[in-house]
Symmetry: C2
Subunit: 96 residues, 2 copies
Amino acid sequence: MFVLITYDVNITLAHGAKRLRNVARACLNYGKRVQNSVFECILTESQFFVLRDQLKGIIDTEQDSIRFYILGKNWKRKVETLGKDMGVDFTGELII
Amino acid sequence: MFVLITYDVNITLAHGAKRLRNVARACLNYGKRVQNSVFECILTESQFFVLRDQLKGIIDTEQDSIRFYILGKNWKRKVETLGKDMGVDFTGELII
């Protein structure tokens, strides 16, 4: 399933910058960064639960916010962009 | 329809801060800010086209990025949050 992850991490207080790095690092393991705090991921249900729990352990739930938007199979038809587009076609050929 | 808008505006170059303010202002007319650069909007198709064109006129398409994610009717079941949740239940009673 296609999962969009958006996040705000409060870097004004202690350890915020570290939490921000760790959230990005965790998301990078599962998907593509399309904007500073936005990741597009193709995940199985179990991968989603693992990543969600991992992120829960990283953030300060009083200071930070993570949102997961679960788009269905036809997610490609549901995304439009203006300007720079760092999105990737996960289904395209991987050129190594 | 439920439209999620995420954006990155490059504020390191001239007029970036102004573009950032104007993008947020335009989105505020149509929906709710749930994270710094993330808005949740309930829009008719024509409202979506109007807002998209408005935003196109605001950003620098070489520097900035806006992404629209169109979630179907059952969008509420497709959104999960961790930590601070500034989302709103559009269908709830509006208390004035």
